[in-house]
Assembly symmetry: C2
Homo-oligomer: 271 residues x 2
Amino acid sequence: MILVNGNQTDVISVRDRGLQYGDGVFETIAVKNGVLLLWDYHWQRLQSACTRLHIVAPMEKIVLQEIDQLKTSSDLYVIKIIITRGSGGRGYRYGEMSTNRVIMRSEWPEYNVEFNSGITLFICETTIAHQPRLAGIKHLNRLENILARNEWDDDYAEGLMLSNNGNVIEGTMSNVFFVKDGQLFTPDLSQCGVEGVVRKAILQHAKGLGITFHTGDFTLHDLLGADEIFVSNSLLGIWPVKRLKSHELNVPGKKTLEIRQTLLQHGQIAG
Amino acid sequence: MILVNGNQTDVISVRDRGLQYGDGVFETIAVKNGVLLLWDYHWQRLQSACTRLHIVAPMEKIVLQEIDQLKTSSDLYVIKIIITRGSGGRGYRYGEMSTNRVIMRSEWPEYNVEFNSGITLFICETTIAHQPRLAGIKHLNRLENILARNEWDDDYAEGLMLSNNGNVIEGTMSNVFFVKDGQLFTPDLSQCGVEGVVRKAILQHAKGLGITFHTGDFTLHDLLGADEIFVSNSLLGIWPVKRLKSHELNVPGKKTLEIRQTLLQHGQIAG
């Protein structure tokens, strides 16, 4: 079921700049037992993304009302919000225009349950380009992720994307973390990549858990020397990595488990 | 007037991957006295872009039939073709799906006629990221161009975009050329930028005109030492540049005029 600007429909104007140019942002939210997990973080990221792209964000109250209209009795489902700059404009120039908002409900993705026990990571050839103006935000220009995700079939659960200069940035649909000597590491995303809401929650919990963490530039070599590796996103939660190239890891690792438990206890991931 | 997969409508499925992810390509074509200018080049680029993104291109015959359905008696108008990968898929993964095609007719843009005599170029702060997998093609991920184009209001006709390492790449909606000592130079687009159809035509004519041309890496410094500068695209044709920062140029330059005349004689630009 879909609402476009509050109206139930499954179509949108061809002139919408989301279609014409990928001119917008989105959020994908896990709903568990009627609760929007990590809503505050999703909303903050959406607002911040709109600000950076000079898109007028809708009112939170309206978005929440519309999400409420789509609620079902399912234990688990997904709400996707797309905010585009609006319809029209003169070429790339936009001027004043009225934002379009799409709220979609969809079924929970059928992830292989074994992935919770450990996945093998593919290494994508498609890189992520450095673009600080777009880094961190979840915008609608996702061709890099699409090309990367379609480099493999079903043999891997997720693929790792590197920047042009060989730094590990993220998975095609997730953020990546590794543990070495009890400390937590995750790539800096100031040049490219998406700052996931679960990533944010993990970094906020690390202090309370007494885990020292570092965001910075890391290579595949660093990951190949890691004690633990895991990926995170708002739907899959946390998947431990059991293999990366020839590097076999014991799963689930101690810190990975501790972090997943903490997120679960705080009702921030679905399972 | 708009056709979506052959049906007259101005809406498209919200699930279309063009909207969801910018997962598609487009072409903007000048129609003059009923003739699609540079059609072969537009079609070749569209096909090549589809191939590179693993999108199934529609049949040329069908696209031409639909364009014909939109014809009017106006001397000049614009046809835009958008081809998206289709609707659906599981996240970034696509699998087999049926392409969506949008054919739109719109009015000729109201460019200031003075631009034909010379424009002042803005220099954009928004850079173009290096992404060889997407370089050259006219895909739907255009946030960089949008951010760049909206750095200025109406004071400039066009803005110059540089790569992260300071090479001049293109205008926000055009390709850029310069002339120095009678030779023609234009940026290499193997790392980023869109290979315009008029750019292609110009490079093909250069030989016949006895003009030596070079594609390569050029900086703002090179442009500031140029004898002539001009920008090109399929709608505006050729605009000579009369000012770039403090560099004033005599317009229209001899080579610029010669190239524009040749394109006009071959019916490749509108005016």
